[in-house]
Symmetry: D2
C-alpha cells in the first residue's frame, strides 16, 4: 500500500487519480507508466488519502467532483471520501484566472505550516506529490535562510512549493520518514538548502520538474547525434499549449525559471554548449492539454555535410506526467523503506527534467533508465 497526498488538484493530479482508478478496475492498460507492474508495489496498492488546492471552486469539494472538471466519463466512488483542503498559494496564481484562497490569507506562514503538518499527521501519507502551478522562484542558499524567511512571514520570498516542501520535511521527521515528489520546476531537489533539510528530517526528495514532453525527447535525439560525433550547429524547440500551465508561463518571470531548467541538457549531453532556443513559447486555448511541439536540429556530419532534423508532435501534457507519478509514488515508498533520504539521483536522472542534486548532470535518458531499474532492484531490460 502507498498512501498518497496531492498538492495542487489540477489537470495532472486529476488525471493521476482517474488513471490509477481505471487501472485498478482493469479498464485500461499500464501504458505510460514506465515500470508498469514490474515493481513489488502494484498500481492497485496506490491510495489517495489527501488533496490540497487553493481554488475556491475546489476547496471543500470531494475529489470525484473535482476530477470531473478534467475527465467527464465514468463515476469514481473511491474518490468521494477525499475532500480537497485549503493549501497555500503565495504568488503562484499570479496572472491566472483563478479565484484563490490560501491558509496564508488567514494566518502567518509559520502557523500555516504547522496546520499543514498536523493535517498530514492525520492523513498519514507515505508520499506527498507536488503538482501545483509553475512558479517564479529563487533558490535558497542555506537551511537557515529558509527558516528565517518563514519566521519573517516573507510571502514575497517563499513560493507555495517551498512552503509545502518544508512542511513535508517536518512531517517526515515526526513520522520517521516520508517522500516528497516535486514535479514542477521550482528547485527543491536542486536547492542545497532543501536537500540539507530533507536529509536531516528523513525526507526522500524526487525532483525537479517531471521529464515529460519535448525535453527528454530532445535529450535522446541529441544523444543520438552525440554518439555519432555529429556536431550540432543549433537547436530550436518550441512548445505551445492551451492548459493552465502554458497560461502560467505567459508570465515572463515564470517562463524564465522554466527556461533555465530546460536548457541545461544541451551542454550536459553534447559536452559543448550548442546554440539553442528551447522554451515553452505560447498559450493557445484551443490546443487544450495536447500541446504542439516543434524542434529543429541542424548538425554537421562527416566531410562537412550539413543535415537537418525536424520533429513535430502533439503530446497530451498531463497524462504524460501523471503516468510518471504512478511510478514515482511507488519508488518514493521504496526509497523511504531503503532509508535513502535527500535527493535520489538514480530516480531523478530518469524521471526529472532537472535531476537533483544540483551538482549532478543530465545523462541520456536511455542510460538513466537502466540505472534507475538497477536502483529499483529490477533486471536490465536490454543486455
Amino acid at each position: 500500500m502507498v498512501k498518497v497526498l496531492i498538492l495542487g488538484q489540477g489537470y495532472v493530479g486529476s488525471i493521476f487519480a482517474v488513471g490509477v482508478e481505471r487501472i485498478k478496475r482493469g479498464e485500461i492498460e499500464h501504458h505510460g507508466v514506465p515500470l508498469a507492474d514490474e515493481l513489488s508495489i502494484k498500481v492497485s496498492d496506490i491510495e489517495i488519502v489527501g488533496s490540497y488546492d487553493v481554488d475556491k471552486d475546489k476547496v471543500g469539494r470531494n475529489l470525484e467532483e473535482v476530477v470531473r472538471k478534467y475527465w467527464k466519463d465514468g463515476d469514481f466512488p473511491a474518490l468521494r471520501n477525499v475532500i480537497v483542503r485549503k493549501g497555500v498559494h503565495l504568488r503562484s496564481l499570479k496572472n491566472l484566472p483563478i479565484d484563490a484562497e490560501g491558509l496564508e490569507d488567514e494566518m502567518s506562514l509559520s502557523k500555516a505550516i504547522e496546520t499543514l503538518v498536523k493535517e498530514f499527521e492525520e492523513l498519514k501519507p507515505d508520499v506527498i506529490v507536488n503538482v501545483c502551478t509553475t512558479e517564479a522562484f529563487k533558490p535558497f542558499k542555506s537551511k537557515d535562510e529558509v527558516i528565517k524567511a518563514i519566521e519573517n512571514n516573507d510571502k514575497e520570498r517563499l513560493t507555495a512549493t517551498q512552503v509545502y516542501a518544508y512542511a513535508a520535511a517536518l512531517y517526515a521527521e515526526r513520522v520517521g520518514g516520508a517522500a516528497f515528489v516535486n514535479a514542477i520546476p521550482t528547485f527543491i531537489a536542486n536547492d542545497p538548502a532543501f536537500v540539507d533539510i530533507a536529509c536531516e528530517k528523513r525526507l526522500v526528495v524526487f525532483g525537479d520538474d517531471g521529464a515529460t514532453g519535448a525535453t527528454p525527447l530532445t535529450a535522446d535525439v541529441i544523444s543520438h547525434l552525440a554518439q555519432r560525433n555529429r556536431y550540432v550547429k543549433g537547436i530550436v524547440q518550441f512548445n505551445i499549449g492551451g492548459n493552465m500551465d502554458f497560461l502560467a508561463l505567459t508570465d515572463e518571470e515564470k517562463n524564465q525559471s522554466k527556461e533555465f531548467t530546460k536548457s541545461s541538457i544541451v551542454k550536459d549531453i553534447l559536452g559543448y554548449d550548442a546554440p539553442h532556443y528551447i522554451k515553452p513559447t505560447g498559450f493557445l486555448e484551443p490546443l487544450g492539454d495536447k500541446k504542439f511541439i516543434s524542434m529543429h536540429v541542424e548538425y554537421i556530419s562527416f566531410n562537412g555535410a550539413v543535415d537537418e532534423l525536424i520533429v513535430n508532435g502533439r503530446i497530451n501534457d498531463s497524462p504524460a506526467l501523471a503516468g510518471l507519478l504512478v511510478d514515482l509514488v511507488r519508488l518514493g515508498k521504496i526509497a523511504v523503506e531503503k532509508g535513502e533520504y535527500g535527493a535520489v539521483y538514480p530516480v531523478n536522472a530518469f524521471y526529472m527534467k532537472n535531476p537533483g542534486p544540483f551538482d549532478r548532470k543530465n545523462i541520456p535518458r536511455i542510460l538513466a533508465y537502466e540505472k534507475m531499474r538497477a536502483w529499483a532492484g529490477l533486471g536490465a531490460r536490454h543486455s
Copy 2:
C-alpha cells in the same frame, strides 16, 4: 597503420577517401566519426591501398579522378597511386544506367575469386570494405552450398558481395587474418554459412548494412517510448533520395531485401510487433545524395491519451555511412589483432542496421554504443 581496400568505388567509397584525406590535412574536424580520435589507431593511420569497381568509366582510372565525380573541390595527390581494378558485378547493377564489366565476363567465378585473392595478396589490405550497390540476394544455408555454387559457376545464385566475402576469407586464410566490413544489406554477418567460413579462415566480419539515416533514429525514438511504456499503435517511415542506391531500390526485388533488414528493429526494441510501414520508398533525382525522410509514430500514453510524433529530415546519405567506415576500418584492425573472427556483435550492434550474427537482436543504439566502447577498450562516455 590500417591498410584499406574498397569494393565499389561509388559515392560512399569516394566520400570516405576524400574525408579521410581532409582530416589528415586538418581541413575538417572528426565530425560524423563516432570515435573521433579516441582510438589508438588514428584517422591519419588509414591508407587506401586498393579499389575495385565494375563501371567501365571507373576501371583503370586512378582514385583521384574517380572521387572527383562525387566531390569537386581540391586535389588529392595521395589518391593518385591507387588504380581502380575490375571486380565482379553479377546481377548487382540490374536496372541501373551503368555500363559494367566484371571479371566474371571473362572467366569462371572460381577463376575470378582466385584472381581477386592474388591481387589482394599483392595489395596487402588489413580491412576490406564492401560498399557496392544494394543487391537482391538469398542467404545460403551452409558453407558447402556456397562452395558448390562457386564451383558450378552459378551466376544467378551468387551476388557480388557473396563472391567478395568468400575471396576475402581465402585471403585472410593466406595472410593469417583480415577483416571484412559489409556495409550493404546482403547477409554476410547474418548468414551462418559465411560466419562459419569466416571463423574457419580467420576473417573478422562486421555487418550487415551500415546503420545510417532514418533507421537508427527510429530505433532511438521507439526506445524512448518503450522505456516510458508508451504503447506504439503504428509506425510509418518513408525515405526518398536521388542517389544510385535509391535508384537501385526502385527494383522491386532489391527493395524487398532492404525492407526485411529494416523492419526487424520494431519487435526487437518494443517487444511486440507494432504495425509498421518502413521502407525506402522512392527515387527523385533532384534530392541527390541528401535524402528526405518522414516518420510518423502514434502511441498511447497514460489514461489512454493518444499522442503523435512526426520526424522529418534531410540527411546526407553517403557521408553518414562514410563516417562510420572511418571507425569500422580501425575497429577491424583491432579485431584482427584480438583474434576475434566471425561476426563481432558488440561492434555490429552499434554500427549495423542488421547486426550479425543472425540470432542476435537489435538493442537501443545508445546502449549498444556503450557496449561497443567497452569492447574497444574505451571508458564509458556517460556514467
Copy 3:
C-alpha cells in the same frame, strides 16, 4: 429537394448519409461543405433514395444498419427505409477482404444494366453518386467500344464504374435528365466515350476523383510558389492510410491509375514538369480513415537561394470527400435544371482531382473556386 442514389455504401457514402442527417437535425455545422447554405437548395433538401453495394454483409440490410459500421453514435431512423441493393463489382474488389456478390454473377452485363435502369426508374434519383472502391481501369476510345464491350459481356474490359455510368446515362435518357457524380479515379468525365454518351442521353457528369486530401493542398502550395516565380526543383508527396481505399491501392494495378491522376497537376500549374514523386504509398491499418500525408518541396528563390517546405498532415479521408458530395449533389440538380449535360468543367475544376473533360487543365483551386461560384450564381467571396 434532391433525391440521391449512392453507388458503393462504404466509408464515404456512410459518412455522407450520417453528416447530412446530423446537419438536418442541427447537431453540427456545415463545416467541410464548401458552399454551406449559400445555395437555394439547402442541405435539408437532400434525401437518399437508394443505395447499392456488393458486400454480402451489406446487401439487403437497411442503411441505418450499414452506416453503423462506420459511425457508432446515435440513431438515424430516416435511413431505415433505404435498403441496400445488389450492384456490380467486376474486378473492383480484387485484393480486398470482402465477400462480394454482384448482379453479373447471375446474369449478363446487358441484363444487369437493364436491371439497374429499371430499379433507378423506380427509385427516381436526381443525382447518382459513385463512391465505389478505386479500380484498375482503361479508358474507352469511343461510345461504340463501350457498347460492344457490354454486348460481349466483357467482364475484364469493363469496371463497375463504367457499367454504372452507362446505366445512369440510359436512366437519364428515360427520365429526361439526371446527374452522375464520379468521385473515384476511373475516367468518366475524362473519357470522351462517356462524355459523348452523357451529352447524347442528357446526363450531367461531375468527375473524376474528388479533390480531397493532399492533392488540392499541393496544388495550392505550388501555385503559391509559381506566382512568386520560385523554381520548383522537386516535389515529394506521400500518403498512407488504413481504410479500404488505401488497402485497394496496395494492388499495383490500381495504384497506377491513381498515380496518373494525381501527377497531372504539376505541369498544369507550374507550366513545366518539375520532377515529382506523388502517390498514395501504403496501407497501415491503425491509421484508419485518418491518413498521414507528408510533402516535401524544394525550390529556388531569388539570387539562387534554395528553400524547402515540408507539409505534414493528419486528414480524415472520408469526411473530406463526403463534405464535397453535399455540394455536388445539389450542384448536380442545378446542372440538370440548366440542361448542362456532359462534363461540367467549372464545377469539376474545383471539386475534382482530375477535372474533366479530358482536354481541360488543372488551375489553382482558389481561382477555380471563384469560377465555380459564378457558375452556381453566387457572388464572389473575395473582391
Copy 4:
C-alpha cells in the same frame, strides 16, 4: 530605365543589388521575381543610383565593398560608383550590436530632411526603397502631427522610416513624382497621415512590410481551408532566424509592431477571428538568413472530423524580399507614369503583408496576384 535609391544597405538591400547584377549578366534566372521579364521595364533597366545607411562600417564605402559582407562570390564593378551615404537612425538600432551615426546626431531633423532631399535631387532616383531595420513605431493621426513632430525635433516620436518617407514626399513634390517602397512593418501605406502627404506631394506608396516567408503561405493555406468551409480551431506560426532582423525583434517593443501586422490576415481571410499565435519568436545565430518556420493548423471538417496540418520550412529571408523588390521598383516607376499617387492597393495586396491603405483587407494572395497583373497591364496567368 529605373533609377533606385536604397535606404538601409543591409542583407536585403545587398542581395537585391547582387541579384540584379547577376541577372543582368545572365548568370542566374529570374527565379523569385514574380513578374520575371513580363513587364516592359526589364531587370536590365534597373540601376542603383544611391544608398544610405548609419553603420559606421558602411558609410563612406562603395557599394561593392558593402555587399561583400553578405555575398562573397564575384566582383561587381557596376556597384563601385555608388558610395553609401549617411542616413538617419533615431531609435531603430536599439538593442543591435552596431556602431551607428546618423545625420540627426549633427543637426536637427528638419535640417536632416532638407539634406536628404537635396541629395535625392542630385541622385535623381525614380524609386526609393526602404529596407532599414524593423522599428518600434506609433502611427500618426494627421499630416499636421507629422510636421509638428519634425519641427519639434521629436526624436522619440519619429522613426527613421517616417523621416525617410517624409523626405521622399518632399523630393517627389520637387521632381513632379516619385515612388516610395516601404518593405518594413512601420506604417506608411497604412498611416492615413502619410497617405495624405503622399497624395498631395505626388508620391506613390507601396507598403507595408514585404510579404515574404511564412505569412503569405499561411494566408494561402487558410484560404484553402476557408474555400472548403473547414472551420479553423487554431493557428500557430513560429519563426526563428539568425539575421539582424530577428535580432532586432528580440526587442519586445519592436516585436509587438510585427505581431500586429501579421495577425490581421486571419480575420480578413477566414471571416472570423480564429484563435492564433503568429509571431516571429526568436533569434538563433547559426540559422543565419535562412529562417526556420513552423506552422500548425487544426480544423473541423465534415461531420465534425478534426484534421491537422503542420508546415515546416527553411526559407532564405533576404532573397525572398529582394526578389519582390525587383518587381516593386519597376511597378513603382509604372505607377508614377500612371500618376497613381498614395497607397496603391492592387500592388500592395499581393506584395505586402499589411497592404495599405489602412481600410483595405487582406485577400487570398492568389486572387491578389491576378488583380495585380491586371493593374500592371498583363494578361491573366490562369483563365
